[in-house]
Symmetry: C2
Subunit: 304 residues, 2 copies
């Protein structure tokens, strides 16, 4: 299992000395995706020793600057680094028009195919899949069109029981054959049933990133039971009115949503610059949902 | 005297771990201006402990991303910080159209007046002045329209000779009167001529920032005799062909220009990411122009 999230930026609205604007890397068994791309995302990829060219898929929650002002620079640097492999970006409507103008006036001519998938729907929708993961976009409740993303491992196949490989001196072809569910016939004609050779796959894990959003129960079905749930907690609950007005969450509200979604673990992020120390926000959340961690730039959070 | 340059970013094209994209702060006797605004400029302002809201004037050399992709974030953060004072940006044609679209799709509505002055001329032209400095834009030789900027102190007034203030117990009004060139009449009717009270002002200092540009002698009259000359040296001279092709300078060429312009000191910047150690570039320049310093992110360079 190799499913984890690297925090590139955990601040809200404007960067501070300790927190960059929103950005994460989601790594699912070696497939790596960028989620949100605030200013300095490319710098943060370097700071966390991640190869820019290893990314081909970028998900943008919404078009507020702190979630996407790093995209032109990242895409341009990928080109300057000699990239030819395609890049796909998923984002709400409007990004393509902005990038077209930005690249025109900055005389940027990408040497690789860039596809912008503009999202425009009201229900959770699967938007991406490959042999390692699938991604569902979830409409959130923010002041502009905004999507959360749920990342799931694809259903894994069965694995061999311990010792089986050596006991029967299995070849790679035989292992593949058995993993497909077949029995094994030995040289003497004995048939070993598949149930004695394999064990069922572990449950596929899931991660949901929901930022920015006001408190809403509409999204609960789409994030139900996720192993790791990243929610924004821009404010503490004494500022619930401000949060409501700006369509953000308080730490308390995020914890409520995590509890109602029966998430396994809660990851808080998108902290307002007014909080120099975020323990207060963490304590507020813990009272409602104990298994909570705070995003910190440069840190790696395992999904379980 | 208080005329210095703070380096925010000294890298070319893409940021590295040690060098951000182009950006500087020019401080002339307390009046502070931003020159170029690559991605992460707002982060670098924070890192160098400069108050974002203290800037009202921004000069952009050209619209390549590494010189201006930090502008939307900086302008948005100024707004989020509650700014109401106006901001003026000087840049080649095209910036206004890009910012209009970026701010539209990112739902950014600045709470202060933003004026974009789009430059479009072929000769050095004075574009800005106040009671502390004047700024001349100088067309450079790059692959897109690009301007260097020459910053000059305004001619300073005379100052009092040492001891004069105490000797005659001068009031502030009397000091202002004398600094305007008037003689002083004492209570007993004695007239002290102005020449015995004041000393001539020192020579106004000047700084020129020319980045990006290929080697060109066309700009020499406009940068003649500056105290500090910042030139780009993207490449070493073994890559002169590449520099020519991309309309950049080698360190050797920058030093040649500094010598021909009779600059007092040369500041090299905009180093290609291929140079992990830039001593080689410095040595190359020193052979032609000895008084050379290298830009390093976060450092402060005095104009004299």
């Amino acid at each position: 299992m190799n499913f984890y999230v690297t925090i590139l930026g955990s601040g809200a609205a404007t960067p501070t000395l300790g927190r960059h604007c929103s950005g994460q890397v989601v790594n699912i068994n070696g497939y790596r995706m960028i989620v949100d791309c605030g200013e300095s995302t490319q710098n943060q990829l370097r700071a966390t020793r991640q190869k820019m060219q290893s990314f081909g898929t970028i998900f943008i929650s919404h078009l507020h600057g702190d979630h996407m002002f790093g995209l032109p620079g990242l895409l341009a640097s990928m080109h300057l680094g000699g990239r030819i492999e395609p890049v796909e970006v998923f984002a709400p409507r409007g990004l393509k028009r902005a990038l077209d103008v930005i690249f025109e006036v900055s005389d940027t001519h990408l040497g690789y195919p860039l596809t912008i998938h503009e999202l425009d729907f009201d229900e959770p929708t699967e938007i991406f899949s490959n042999n390692k993961c699938k991604v569902t976009a979830i409409p959130l409740l923010h002041s502009v069109p905004c999507y959360g993303y749920r990342f799931e491992e694809v259903a894994l196949g069965p694995s061999l029981q311990p010792g089986v490989r050596d006991r029967y001196q299995l070849t790679p072809n035989e292992i593949a054959f058995i993993k497909k569910g077949n029995d094994l016939t030995l040289a003497d004609g004995t048939v070993i049933p598949n149930s004695q050779l394999t064990r069922p796959p572990r449950r596929p894990l899931s991660y949901a990133y929901c930022c920015d959003t006001a408190y809403t129960e509409t999204i609960l079905p789409a994030i139900q039971g996720v192993d790791l749930l990243c929610l924004e907690s821009t404010f503490d609950h004494s500022r619930a009115d401000l949060a409501e007005q700006r369509r953000h969450c308080t730490a308390y509200q995020a914890a409520q949503m995590a509890r109602k979604a029966e998430a396994k673990k809660l990851l808080l992020t998108h902290f307002s610059a007014r909080y120099k120390i975020i323990e207060e926000l963490m304590d507020e959340a813990r009272k409602v949902f104990p298994n909570v961690v705070a995003a910190q730039d440069g840190e790696v959070i395992n999904v379980v």
